[in-house]
Amino acid sequence: MSFLDYAPAPESTAILNLRPEYGLFIDGRFVDGHGKAFDTISPATEKTIARIATADAHDVDLAVAAARRAYEGTWSRLSGVDRGKYLFRIARLVQERSRELAVAESLDNGKPIKETRDVDVPLVAAWFFYYAGWADKLDHAGLGADPRSLGVAAQVIPWNFPLLMLAWKIAPALAAGNTVVLKSAESTPLTALLFAEILQQAELPDGVVNILSGAGDTGATLVNHPDVDKVAFTGSTSVGRAIARSVAGTQKKLTLELGGKGANIVFDDAPIDQAIEGIISGIYFNQGQVCCAGSRLLVQENVHDEVVERLKARLSTLRVGDPLDKNTDVGAINSAAQLKRITELSDIGEQEGAERWSPECSLPEKGFWFAPTIFTNVSTSHRIARDEIFGPVLSVLTFRTPGEAIAKANNTPYGLSAGIWSDKGSRVLAVADRLRAGVVWANTFNKFDPSSPFGGYKESGFGREGGRHGLAAYLAPALRQAPGSVPVYESLVEAPAAAESLAMEPAAPSLGTASDPAPAPTASEGNVR
């Protein structure tokens, strides 16, 4: 026998206690939806997991109304300390149920269990722990004393990291004192619904978080709802554009986290074995269905052949198959539609003259699968070097000098992520400084931490998630009368101004707001709508 044909080590689905049908989670309860229900399937087997309700306009109304009631009646009146307690409780419950969540996520999304177990779910807990800590420290969020929450946040999340994106959206929103209506992605509604059960378990006040399922039109109805104060969207650039258009002219605050075509730059002095690992995790992590994926590999020309040779050797050891097997490195593509897009763009790459290579690997017959693929001889004008493929497809380009690397890396309508591989610290810093990307990783890739802001330039969106900046996206500065004159609207971003205003107010209210049930500005702001 071959040792490398590891015996199957599937994670058991027995831990799941799924219902055959799921409704919408509105006002603390699961209720029937009025749209046409749909089946959520496992992309690895195409088997139905559960029947899921769809929210129509009426359901969206109910959910937004519930969130508004909860905002005005409960959540905005709670002290930061108490909001933090709920968030800590949610974080602990996520940890307690981590195995179950990991299995459900793998089943519904198609990504390998080792990723959901070791990356997604631990990060979800980390996000809630992190923002739980912020809930009573909003004075330090960079907006001056007593920043206001915004009200009801409408949040629409993608299918590539269903539970993690939920955490990125819900944790800061709740910490800042907002209530939430979240719409999960059509192909991955499952873990959001399990999360709703966790909210019930945590006894979060009714209506503070409402979770809707449905397709794009449900999302559109939600973000266009007149009683929504904040819109946060993660997904494709085209949908993001439509949202920006529809939100324009309203009072809604907007955060968009959209597509990307990240450059992973490998210099000739890179730690070569780790660079290979970084390239692999940059593009094959989550089957490349990552907005910040390092889908464009820029290799210094003098090491191109060696890098490609090593990359191919390493690629041949990746295990493609059952997402629930603990030894699987690359799982299934999330949907038939996504598989079609990846297949089409890859075919175009071939037609345009790039050289296509995949390791030998047998793919399961049922389900949506795409072998990890490398394109060499790619030019900057090829579509596979410009369009976001959102799949396990790497385009390899070359450069000769750092200047050329920077120019090529920046030559994209996107600007979400980039990676630099070099043993020379000064070069890493100099290049990072000139890359127009929201995240630049040095000698690593696809690393996330709740304390680090994440977001894009240009067509990759605006606003930041994570860290203090991610919190500020759900806050507005306090509205207050400056001594004897017009209201002062503090600058959103300029720290010095915020510091001055703090200094101006020696008698700022105490940090603990426990004895201050409903800060007046917040409540009145709510009533205006």
Partner: protein, 340 residues
Amino acid sequence: MTIDTASAERAVAPAARAIEVIGGDLTEKSLRRYLEGIPGVDAVGLEQRAAGLGTRSIKTTSKAWALDRIIELIDLTTLEGADTPGKVRSLVAKALVPDAADPSTPRVAAVCVYGDMVPHAVRALGSAHAAGGDTGINVAAVATAFPSGRASLEVKLADTTDAVRAGADEIDMVIDRGAFLAGRYGQVFDEIVAVKEACRRENGSSAHLKVILETGELNTYDNVRRASWLAILAGGDFIKTSTGKVSPAATLPVTLSMLEVVRDWHRLTGEKIGVKPAGGIRSSKDAIKHLVTVAETVGEEWLQPHLFRFGASSLLNDVLLQRQKLRTGAYSGPDYVTVD
């Protein structure tokens, strides 16, 4: 340290591999330039990769195969100041019959002892002594003023010759870490070449040479990688992590970085070099992580005694317990394996 230009230009001992790879005019300078041109190692990335390999889930038939193979790859070791002929006989008995309750248990690859214990080991093995052959058990001896290596070259060579004459099939030498850290690569190189020469027997055959880098004293992965190249260039048949007398000894990232060198050497020359992590691997779980790392880095064919070994003493009993568990479905306990 000032660089002695005379010694920088001094030709180091000829070693066929180094001449082939670096070029005919092998000098301290050319050796240094070659070693310093090797790409660096990013510690965070290396450790992350090792941790990733450590999460492989090896179950049922794969686990059964792995446990047996681990036994076949063990250099069962006793390296104590208190070693006696009796202790060595007892070690050999365990090597021959690891699990008295299960005759299907494979034998270990070798016993590893101090040089003066070699005759006792050879005698105890009797007809089971493989003497470098394919069947039976080899005798490995540590040499060259093990574990510190702090002795003159003459003493180190005498130590080696002594063990080979007494019947050692494999010599585990230590490099001069002081010289390495001081940048005297030529000296380290020359010593390995000389010890390799001392491994030669009168009949022209040669004891296998394992070169111990003592990675715990080299401290950085860059040094480990550089020392691995140096040891291979100088003619080592195996590169070995540690003496077991310094902590940390064998860790998974260190073994991984050495395996990467071996893989690159194979790619460069087609030649296969062995790797021996030693010290600190006490559980079956750790050993299985090493097997996974070997298989996924250099390939499965390295999982053979002439290309991979574990230097261990307590590991064997843990593997036997795991083996019993697989067979019977129940955990036994430390009293169901023998203490030697």
